[in-house]
């Protein structure tokens, strides 16, 4: 039970509607992506973690403690809800500063910390504007600012990237990555899968209220032996490349989908990628393109969730 979050057969129902169904997973240190289709239970898990909801069954620990009605624990967590509704009548700075003071930080320190947090997320210019005039992307950044400002140990972010344009998205991703580099932990739920891959390789896949896979994306991909890895190489001499690679025992099949292409399938992608540069250089093969269509979280998601 040393993970940031430990869930043991946690169940939660909204009447008959499924929230979580014997959800069991352990979120390790660093950044973990929580990925799953709509209604899979992501928001339910987050609401349980911040004590907005109470588990019906099982056992849930955040930083080793039970989150329900546990005020002391809240000092150590930062939370970004999915909804974009904020205190419209407050300005950006008042919003972050007031919540900081609720964290027990003195007035003067709260102001500087609030300005710091707004600076981090790039909202300094808008700090005196009322929140009701904020656009979707700005609201996402304001939410992130209030989650970071009191320097929590763990960030719980529900769809922090939805509605953010590419510029805001890069800013948010960099902020989360920096937070992790400084020793913080983060649990990020999102649908924008190619963004999560930029952030972390560590994911928990949730579907129908259950954790169906957790760990490193590629490790998970590796476990799905029903679909050996496909790697497509673009080369003017496909036969030579095929011959060079046929010798590898983990290569399962070799195809020639196009005149200048070789498609190989391997059971051990990591070994293949590690050996490939050597083979290309030693055999002086002409490889001018390489792509692996199904080595992404998208592919993993599609295999497992369908």
């Amino acid at each position: 039970m040393n993970g940031i979050v430990d869930a043991r057969t946690v169940s939660k129902w909204y009447g008959e509607v499924l929230g979580l169904n014997a959800f069991a997973a352990s979120f390790g240190p660093g950044i973990t992506g929580l990925v799953g289709p709509n209604g899979a239970g992501k928001s339910t898990l987050f609401k349980l973690l911040i004590g907005q909801l109470r588990i019906d069954q099982g056992e849930l620990r955040l930083l080793g403690e039970n989150p329900w009605n546990n005020a002391r624990l809240k000092r150590r967590i930062g939370y970004c809800p999915e909804s974009n509704e904020l205190y419209g009548w407050l300005t950006g700075e008042e919003f972050v500063e007031s919540l900081l003071r609720l964290d027990g930080i003195r007035a003067s320190a709260a102001r500087t910390a609030a300005r710091g947090a707004l600076e981090t997320v790039g909202l300094t210019d808008a700090k005196d504007r009322r929140l009701r005039t904020f656009s979707r992307g700005m609201r996402q950044r304001a939410k992130l600012a209030q989650a970071l400002a009191h320097e929590p140990e763990v960030l719980i972010l529900d769809e922090p990237l939805s509605g953010a344009d590419p510029l805001a998205r890069i800013n948010i991703l960099e902020t989360i990555a920096k937070f992790a580099r400084d020793g913080g932990h983060a649990i990020v739920s999102t649908h924008v899968l190619y963004e999560v891959e930029r952030l972390t390789q560590n994911v928990v896949l949730i579907h129908n209220g259950k954790a169906i896979a957790s760990g490193d994306i590629h490790a998970i991909r590796g476990l799905i032996d029903a679909h050996p890895h496909a790697v497509r190489l673009m080369t003017s001499t496909p036969r030579d490349v095929a011959q060079a690679l046929a010798g590898l025992d983990h290569v399962v099949s070799i195809e020639f989908p196009a005149a200048e292409a070789v498609l190989i399938r391997t059971r051990q992608p990591d070994v293949f990628y590690r050996e490939l540069p050597g083979i290309v250089v030693d055999h002086r093969l002409d490889v001018h393109g390489l792509e692996s269509p199904d080595d992404s979280l998208d592919a993993v998601f599609r295999y497992l969730v369908g």
Binding site: T133, M138, L290
Partner: protein
């Protein structure tokens, strides 16, 4: 011409949401992109007549946006935010909105069923919208925009908030619609890969102004001469090794970018091996719309946007 505007401006308090915008958008599938607060939604509302312009004029398919009725008769609008009536059923809402668009009772009911079938809402159409998933709501929102078969579809963020499965379904629908003859589509979205997949022409807004516009393939063509490489391992040392072999390489937001010249691919593998890194992707530098967007927008640095 699908949309023409001259000096179109809209000011909310001190925010100039649309700022003296003059543009001419051809018919077909148009992508409308820009950072948050760039004025996309405001521009769409101006074309629909939902808000009145502070200055300037505009027209949709030749109809002046000042007299909204003829314009709105030709438009099907899918708003960005939630806007369905929770206590109505799917078929109830779509047929009702068809009648509010001017269809008679029978045509409204038959087209409502057609269009719900098309977007993939099967027997759930008889259940109340309050019980629908996010994906199902987006499909009903799309259906109500299509039911009266308008000449122009305006979709504001149709794929936002959808899970990957919902997104692929929505993209399939949008592609089918975009390929229908005689029908135009304005697709406003943050998810630029979606715009790339569907639209032929793109308009990039920022700060209420048009900062770039044109045929998508022409805009993106630019960089045949560069190679993009994704490296697993120490990216900077690989780039360094390449520079030592006097290969021009820099680290971009989406991987290494290498100037193309004869034999450079071999250099990449050699550098990777020497550093013990893995090459996970190597391909033509397809200047994704996202990078183009970041470059054009980053010039006019987006502050508290």
């Amino acid at each position: 011409m699908l949309v023409e505007t001259r000096g179109l401006t809209k000011v909310f308090g001190e925010i100039r949401a649309v700022d003296d915008l003059s543009t001419a958008i051809p018919e077909g599938a148009i992508g409308l992109v820009g950072p948050n607060g760039a004025g996309k939604t405001t521009l769409l509302r101006l074309l629909l007549g939902l808000v009145q312009p502070t200055a300037g004029t505009g027209s949709v398919l030749g109809h002046d946006i000042a007299d909204g009725i003829p314009v709105r008769e030709r438009i099907g609008y899918m708003p960005e935010h939630d806007c369905l009536i929770p206590e109505m059923t799917g078929i109830g809402l779509v047929s009702y909105m068809a009648r509010v668009s001017g269809l008679d009772r029978n045509t409204a009911m038959s087209r409502a069923h057609d269009v719900l079938q098309f977007v993939g809402v099967e027997e759930e159409r008889y259940r109340k919208i309050a019980e629908y998933s996010t994906g199902m709501k987006q499909k009903v929102k799309l259906a109500q925009a299509m039911v009266h078969d308008p000449a122009v579809y305006i979709f504001d963020e149709p794929t936002t908030g959808l899970d990957p499965r919902g997104r692929t379904e929505m993209l399939r629908l949008l592609t089918t619609i975009a390929s229908t003859l005689g029908r135009n589509m304005i697709l406003s979205s943050h998810l630029l890969p979606d715009v790339e997949a569907i639209c032929k022409h793109v308009v990039i807004l920022d700060g209420g102004r048009q900062i770039a516009a044109g045929d998508l393939s022409r805009l993106l063509a630019g960089a045949r001469d560069r190679l993009r490489v994704d490296v697993r391992g120490d990216r900077d040392r690989v780039a360094q090794a390449l520079r030592e072999a006097n290969v021009e390489a820099d680290v971009g937001p989406t991987g290494l970018r290498i100037a193309r010249r004869a034999g450079v691919e071999a250099e990449v593998f050699r550098a990777a091996r020497s550093v013990g890194a893995e090459v996970r992707y190597m391909g033509v530098e397809i200047r994704s719309l996202e990078e183009l967007f970041l470059e054009t927008v980053r010039q006019g640095e987006a502050g508290g946007r």
